[in-house]
Symmetry: C2
Amino acid sequence: MTSPAPSPLAYVPFVSVENMMRLVNAIGVEPFIAELAGFIEEDFKRWPEFDKTPRVASHSAEGVIELMPTADAENYGFKYVNGHPGNMREGYQTVTAFGVLSSVANGYPLLLTEMTVLTALRTAATSALVARYLAPQNSEVMAMIGNGAQCEFQALAFRALLGVNRLRLYDIDPEATRKARRNLTAQGFEVVSCRSGEEAVEGAQIITTCTADKQFATILTDNMVGAGQHINAIGGDCPGKTELHRDILLRSDIFVEYPEQTRIEGEIQQLAPDHPVTELWQVMRGEAAGRRDDKQITLFDSVGFAIEDFSALRFVHAKVQGTDYAQRLDMLADPDDPRDLFGMLERSRS
Amino acid sequence: MTSPAPSPLAYVPFVSVENMMRLVNAIGVEPFIAELAGFIEEDFKRWPEFDKTPRVASHSAEGVIELMPTADAENYGFKYVNGHPGNMREGYQTVTAFGVLSSVANGYPLLLTEMTVLTALRTAATSALVARYLAPQNSEVMAMIGNGAQCEFQALAFRALLGVNRLRLYDIDPEATRKARRNLTAQGFEVVSCRSGEEAVEGAQIITTCTADKQFATILTDNMVGAGQHINAIGGDCPGKTELHRDILLRSDIFVEYPEQTRIEGEIQQLAPDHPVTELWQVMRGEAAGRRDDKQITLFDSVGFAIEDFSALRFVHAKVQGTDYAQRLDMLADPDDPRDLFGMLERSRS
């Protein structure tokens, strides 16, 4: 007997880093983010339909490896993501990620994709989507404190969804600010490099904090935040890692993705476990208020939730079907007779 | 600027189904299982070193999708596996699986591999390894009730590790028995096809039950099991799915992988939650007794634990390094400057 070629059922579409970048560049970064934000908003609006669990984390002295699963009635998705602050010293990325989207009906993977680039895009898309509900009307100026890998994606997302085109950058490492300024000026932004966080927040309607590697840092002190501002706090995203002074939290209305996770990982780990927060899905459904007036300080305490990755997987799956952005990966055994796995192995010898 | 080729750090070795079958056939199924059993035994003997969590399951009306993670100080591994009893009707496999082995030190995946074939091999290797501690000395005859996809692998494992060469097969579907008999006769086994479970167990020192799709079935009734036999119970492996009559359990000394999981998924879900069981890792370390005398009925209540998959990932990783059994998969973004993910995206346009 000859070894039969695997049936189409045995192949899993795979999107490599190179193909993800081709896809993003073909669509354009801003349209990609805008369309992805639409998928995320759609999924937030049907939040109760999801099977939600906190991420499954494996901690070591060097870092953490996490699995982030979620599912609706049709699809199951999970992301693998690591966080190793010391990696940069060795020439490795601090964070890398990949993910899988599957069919709930038969359990077969429908998509395997890189998610390092995709996570940067979904994090930015979520931030800007949330800011549409919380930032002051007609925001024009955004302060960006922390100018690392996420910075440019945040800027492009806020321009795509809110029209923000003026940026005030600050990072403790001037080289990071130079990198971000170079990239963002080339994208047509009006960019001011600042010498301090205090200088960066001057005149900004939106403050994005996006620093890394800090243990209970205070990127924003209480005096830096004024009435009416929206704070988009990205960097405080694991136990022991926060960016904002506690007093700011006490003056703000706090909006979160999934309280069970944010209370462990977000800025609000500094507060009492029953401190009131508003869930974003309720805001998007019109069941809770977003920004109510122009004096209110709003805070998005972003930690990143599995449903955002699910939306991103769903979006990429929709985009790559029937294109050459996906390679076919022979990842699933598919014997002609499912009971005869051994026979398949034997026949493959010839 | 030109788009630089990804550095070696960005590539993840991937073992496809085809390459897994090439690898298994190049080594030979029995030597593969025997060597893999050595890896599993090694990991059982250092059981306390592992970070252990029950599997993370997402249930639906049609089936279940599970993630099974574990880690030691050096490596992290997880398996994705589904179980969808209705899949065969649609031409899909009931169970498919893939897995990842990573470095704990930096979180980077070291291996992505198919695990449908590999799981069949590790399940058989574990059964035979356990039987070396529990089955009667000089066992020659094994009854096999349930002749589906796992049957041949079990038989080869018991020959490789215990020298068992005589098999008595029974399945409610005679077609399954014909398939297994054809495959196993070709492998040089002495095979008897039986018309009932009662007939199959006659004269057998070892009874392997490996049926599927049953809700609290009774594959073995109490009168079928005699003094001195070893029962290798594979099929009772999820809540509501068991194969043995409760009275057999009460007469047996019961050995399990991980009590926290087995009490939910195994045969012992029929017993009180404090019914005494022995952990296999303690037997392998010589800290608990295995078989004590030739009258004792021993029962391996197998459900499959993450550490067995970890051993299998470790084994395959050792075998494929530097060979063409692994393809290089461009799955991890690797910008020259880790802070400049956006710059990498931009440069890839040219």
